[in-house]
Amino acid sequence: MSFSRLRLGGAVGQLGSIIVTLLGLLVLTFFIGRMMPADPVRAIVGEDATRETYEQVYHALGLDRPVWEQFVYYMRDVLTGNFGTSIRTGQPVIQDILHVMPATIELATFAILIGACLGIPMGVFAAVNKDRWPDHAVRVFSLFGHSMPIFWTGMIALIVFYAHLDLVGGSGRMDQFYIGLVDERTGFLLIDSLRAGEMDVFWSALNHLILPATLLGYSSSAYITRMTRSFMLDQLGQEYVTTARVKGLSRGQTIWLHAFGNIRVQLVTIIALAYGSLLEGAVLIETVFAWPGFGSYLTSNLIIGDMNAVMTCVLIIGVIFIGLNLLSDILYRIFDPRTR
């Protein structure tokens, strides 16, 4: 009945707002590209090029046309999937990114799963034991995760768990020995190796993934813990919690059957944001672990001024956040009957 109509109306409205946001994002990346102090022509022709060569390239890039015309071309290129060629590698930018993105997605997904599995129960536990020692213990633990510079914990963890204890793999996505053993079909090593039935490669990849993912997860769990704690405290002060207790539910039942359902929407929001920033790439941890991910790709291109690559990266980050917002909205509708 009217329910499904409302939902449909919401979805159409959402689609419209997504298109507007995407357009805004394109304008933004376009102007970032124009306003950056880097000279794209100089980056191509080099310092010693003659004036004629410079002019020629300047014209070839369309830089002598009016700005709005350049924007239209830019939009057309983006919509047809042409993101330009990387100056550094000479390959289409999108191809380079498709190569680094799976590595980052793999890392970020594991990290956020670890962060949520660690942070949510700890936050609830802290809230339930507010101002008693478990609360303080959780606070110290999560503050530690939040305050330690990740490159430092990364190096210490490598020394301890890799060099000394030899429990996990070291840097890179898998042992040197296995590189090139499985075809890169999806780019996700875990999936590719499973598909090829190469279990050794799979375990090696997982072994390499677990340490950086745990460190990133620990660091993002700090935030998730703090937020879960305060969301939970907020709910525990609500009257419906008293109602549940009056009915004869135990504290644990009240928390998990009643209060927790009411913090899911808020949790989705902060976890989606945390996931988004992990997908942006974790430059520091990628550097320490020699992880060929999105973060190091973006940073290195920024430094050398490879604007096609940088703009595309910014565009992708924007799209990631729009996607995550959309996902959170859908989850809101599932979790909270008031939003339907």
Binding site: E239, R245, V246, K247, G248, L249, H258, G261
Partner: protein, 278 residues
């Protein structure tokens, strides 16, 4: 008043970190009757209700006696208390807008009381809940069962609350300002439903309120509380012959339709009211 359901003697309650007791030496007994507890905000009336259910985290409750039927409420373990709450003693909270879980169907919330205390299937609990919703005069109970709290009105919400709290057929119900959040027009309707059920099932009722007229009409006896103490206990019918100056002051401060338009009397609080009787 045949059998004593509740025997409270010298009840004292202190919140954690407070320097004085919120409830100071309250004593009363309750049979199968309707007892009103009246007092201003902060007089300790709601605190007593929650203390009976032992739902005051961080507070210290002491009493010479806190007997509920055959059990000593202070001696029960938390686990034993879980079997008392909802099953033998329950409480109707003030505002259904806050006291119902916003993301669960109201019917499921009602049925939960039954599921908690009786071994039965979900379907059975659902039937019981629907029958109870009909008992609180909700038309089309099947439809209301599937609705969420934000989809029903305040009066309906409070009837759902009553259904939830009476479903397991308790012996004592505490109604903590059950109609303060409702429109005046539905207030009477809800009270009549509650009153009818309480009488039919022979449930002991403690009605906590700040509304003297409401208590006068719906209760047998009234405790007047001031600053954590009971200053006077009266039959509801004899409220007008109250002796204590505080009660007299409260009665004098009530406006009357058709009464004189002169400014109402203002309570003149005397410090000696705070002192405990020897």
């Amino acid at each position: 008043m045949e059998k004593t359901i509740l025997d409270v003697r010298n009840l004292r309650i202190r919140y954690g970190g407070a320097s004085t007791d919120a409830v100071r030496g309250v004593s009363f007994t309750l049979g199968r009757e309707r007892l009103g507890i009246v007092g201003e905000s902060g007089s300790g009336k709601s605190t007593i209700g929650r203390a009976l259910l032992r739902l005051l985290p961080g507070a210290t409750i002491t009493a010479d006696s806190l007997r509920f039927e055959d059990v000593d409420l202070l001696a029960l373990s938390e686990k034993e208390m879980l079997k008392v709450r909802g099953r033998r003693m329950s409480m109707i909270l003030q505002d259904p807008k806050f006291s119902l879980n916003p993301i669960r169907r109201v019917g499921d919330q009602v049925a939960e009381t039954y599921l908690r205390h009786f071994k039965c299937s979900r379907g059975e609990a659902r039937e019981k809940a629907i029958a109870m919703l009909e008992a609180v005069k909700i038309r089309d109970a099947e439809r209301v069962y599937a609705q969420y709290p934000h989809e029903i009105s305040g009066g309906m919400g409070q009837r759902v609350m009553i259904a939830m709290m009476l479903l397991a057929d308790p012996d004592l119900v505490i109604a903590d300002e059950p109609t303060s959040a409702l429109d005046v027009t539905v207030r009477l309707q809800v009270l009549n439903i509650l009153d009818g059920l309480v009488r039919d099932r022979g449930i002991g009722l403690i009605m906590i309120s700040h509304d003297l007229n409401l208590v006068r009409n719906f209760c047998d006896r009234v405790l007047i509380m001031y600053a954590g103490r009971v200053v006077e206990t009266l039959q509801a019918s004899e409220l007008d012959s109250a002796q204590h100056p505080y009660t007299q002051g409260l009665l004098a401060a009530q406006p009357r339709i058709g009464g004189s338009r002169a400014p109402l009397a203002v309570l003149d609080r005397k410090p000696e009211w705070l002192e405990e009787k020897a």
